[in-house]
């Protein structure tokens, strides 16, 4: 019977699909393209990182400036991500739970930073706080350095990661509507209780998803940070900037060693992201990917 079945499928493939040979050809092309454009670069990061041996790899990571860069990157992400989470929650609450004029426009505005080149995202803060600006010298007179210092790096990072949490939460919360909150309020809960006990549990996986993407970008941002950091070794160089400096100094192995840490972060992000999508697909997105 099995052979009979196979014979029939062979004779005629489903009317809404392609012949298996065509399928295999297309799969082959797609997989080859993905392998060359995506997998190969990822592989080469780790390959190059270990090209001078494990000892050199760990030596590069243990180096003083590398350590400082790792610390700075973590600090920047730890500041920028929570701020964007607060913003994302506030924006999605206002947008999803209420009807008001200009809402669609506001949603478009939130996505705006995505269409700004990272270098320009850094540039705007240079113009705002740099020499010749009004704010820069004013703050400097109080001993506050923004440019070529931590605040500038954080600001530029916030700019480029601005939409990540909000754009995850807005469609999700819009999809969930206001029924649950209205029910909680009618049962006597106050606003905060409703938010913490009803809304947050409903959106927790979507929030985590947004945080994940926001964090990956925050730790990896290069262009915007390059413009505002001044690249003072050991002080204002984040991991990606340190990678660049090492690479430009022809210390490729060390550059790749540090880069492999960032690639690992990317991999962990992808794995967690996929797990979230597979396990909680429905609770993450209102069909937006």
């Amino acid at each position: 019977m099995a052979t009979k079945l196979r014979a029939q499928t062979k004779r005629r493939h489903s009317p809404t699909s392609e012949r298996r040979s065509v399928q295999l050809l297309l799969i082959g092309i797609a997989v080859a393209f993905m392998a060359i454009t995506l997998v190969l670069p990822l592989y080469s990061v780790f390959h190059e990182a270990l090209s001078k041996g494990v000892g050199a790899f760990f030596a590069a990571l243990g180096e003083k400036d590398a350590q400082a860069a790792i610390r700075l990157t973590l600090l920047v992400a730890a500041t920028a991500v929570p701020l964007n989470v607060v913003f994302g929650l506030a924006a999605s609450w206002a947008i999803a739970k209420f009807e008001f004029k200009g809402k669609a426009f506001l949603i478009t505005l939130i996505d705006l930073p995505f269409s700004v080149s990272p270098v320009i995202s850094g540039l705007v803060y240079v113009l705002l706080f740099g020499a010749g600006s009004f704010l820069g010298p004013f703050l400097k007179s109080y001993g506050i350095e923004v440019l070529f210092a931590l605040p500038g790096i954080v600001l530029a990072t916030i700019f480029v990661t601005f939409p990540f949490v909000a754009r995850e939460l807005i469609p999700l919360m819009q999809d969930q509507g206001t029924g649950d909150e209205e029910a909680a309020l009618s049962l006597g809960a106050n606003g905060w209780q409703t938010f913490w006990r009803v809304t947050i549990p409903n959106i927790k996986w979507g929030l985590l998803y947004g945080v994940l993407l926001c964090n990956a970008r925050a730790m990896g941002e290069f262009g915007a940070v390059a413009v505002v950091s001044g690249k003072i070794r050991g002080q204002t160089t984040t991991m990606p900037l340190q990678v660049e400096m090492l690479y430009n100094e022809y210390n490729a192995a060390a550059a790749f060693a540090l880069a492999s840490m960032l690639a690992l972060l990317a991999l962990v992000t992808l794995v967690l992201k996929s797990v979230l999508e597979w396990r909680f697909g429905e609770e993450i997105a209102a069909g937006n990917h």
Binding site: K4, L5, Q8, T9, R12, P15
Partner: protein
């Protein structure tokens, strides 16, 4: 075009959807495939269309073995429950599609295609909407476009899968009448799938009742309704009440009492009595089925009474005119006027 389905079996991943089904569809008739969901009716329709390939068995269109042909070659018109209109094409483009994709040798000239499409648009009473997009039409209008599109290729057989399933009751009834008219005018051999018995009874020349991948009964709506050949068909088509009875001395007994219904040629022993709630007569003194009224509701022009019969508490329903005096009573005795006896399971 007559269609013969011959000993067709279909399995999806070893799960049998149809067991050895055979059905002769006469040329020009309107036949309904009726059954609950999972009965295999849609699978049978899709096998006729060529959208599925049978695991075993054959489908003939006239004398040609259609099992050897692809869906494109079968020249069938198929109407989907959710219309499946091409959303990026205008109504006119949708209807002309089947003619436009023909190979050059058999494709009519553009003017002819347009003329035919406009004619069909007129047939489905949508003239003037040819430049609209499907998104701009109501559900009923979309389904009419879908039918016009299927008719445009002058199909050998017209197949409709729950064509009114996505529409609301009012539009459904209108379209039902209208489909009958179109069929009478064009005379296509038409097979349609439905789970709605009223739709099947009203619309079809013959109906084919299916259950669990098998054909239960095929016949005209009247004969299926009046002479169901299985408990399933009796229960599925129209209202029915069922009661376990005993056959003894050529008579039916319930709880040790004869109920005044002859057993005919039924074998002595346990049996199941089926009757229609509206097909009963109330009796006073003779042997009858007597029961205690458990609920009593007026439904429009009739009164539906639920009776508890015998000690075992079997519930049956009978219908009375809503103003019948017996509707006030707490006990009722009746005899079915027409009934059917099936062996006990």
């Amino acid at each position: 075009m007559e269609v013969r389905v011959q000993n067709v079996r279909k399995e999806f991943d070893r799960f049998p959807a149809l067991h050895d089904v055979s059905l002769d569809i006469r040329s020009g008739e309107l036949i309904a495939l009726l059954g609950p969901s999972g009965s295999g009716k849609t699978t049978l329709l899709r096998l006729i269309a060529g959208l599925e390939t049978p695991t075993a068995g054959k489908v003939f269109f006239g004398d040609t073995d259609a099992s050897e042909k692809t869906v494109q070659e079968r020249n069938i018109g198929f109407v989907f429950q959710h219309y499946a209109l091409f959303r990026h094409m205008t109504i006119l483009e949708n209807i002309s599609f089947g003619l436009k994709v023909r190979p050059r040798s058999s494709r009519p000239p553009a003017g002819e295609i347009r003329r035919r499409a406009m004619e069909l648009l007129d047939l489905v009473q949508l003239s003037g909407l040819e430049k609209r997009y499907p998104n701009q039409l109501s559900g009923g209008q979309r389904q009419r476009v879908a039918l016009a599109r299927a008719l445009a290729i002058e199909p050998a057989v017209l197949l409709l899968d729950e064509p009114f399933g996505a529409l609301d009751a009012q539009v459904r009834r209108e379209l039902r009448k209208w489909l009958r008219e179109i069929h009478d005018r064009t005379g296509h051999t038409t097979v349609f799938v439905t789970h709605d018995q009223e739709e099947a009874l009203e619309l079809s020349d013959r109906l084919c009742v299916m259950s669990q991948g098998k054909i239960e009964q095929v016949g005209t709506p009247d004969s299926v309704y009046d002479h169901p050949t299985s408990p399933f068909v009796f229960g599925f088509i129209g209202e029915s009440s069922e009661l376990p009875v005993t056959v003894e001395n050529n008579e039916l007994w319930v709880g040790g009492r004869a109920i005044g219904v002859p057993a005919g040629d039924a074998q002595p022993g346990e049996a199941r009595l089926f009757f229609r709630p509206h097909d009963v007569e109330l009796v006073e003194h003779d042997a009858s089925l007597a029961g205690v009224v458990s609920t009593n509701r007026r439904v429009g022009g009739t009164r539906r009474v639920e009776l508890e019969i015998g000690g075992a508490g079997h519930l049956v329903e009978v219908d009375l005119p809503f103003d019948h005096p017996a509707g006030e009573k707490t006990r009722l005795a009746f005899r079915p006027r027409r009934w059917k006896l099936f062996p006990a399971v």
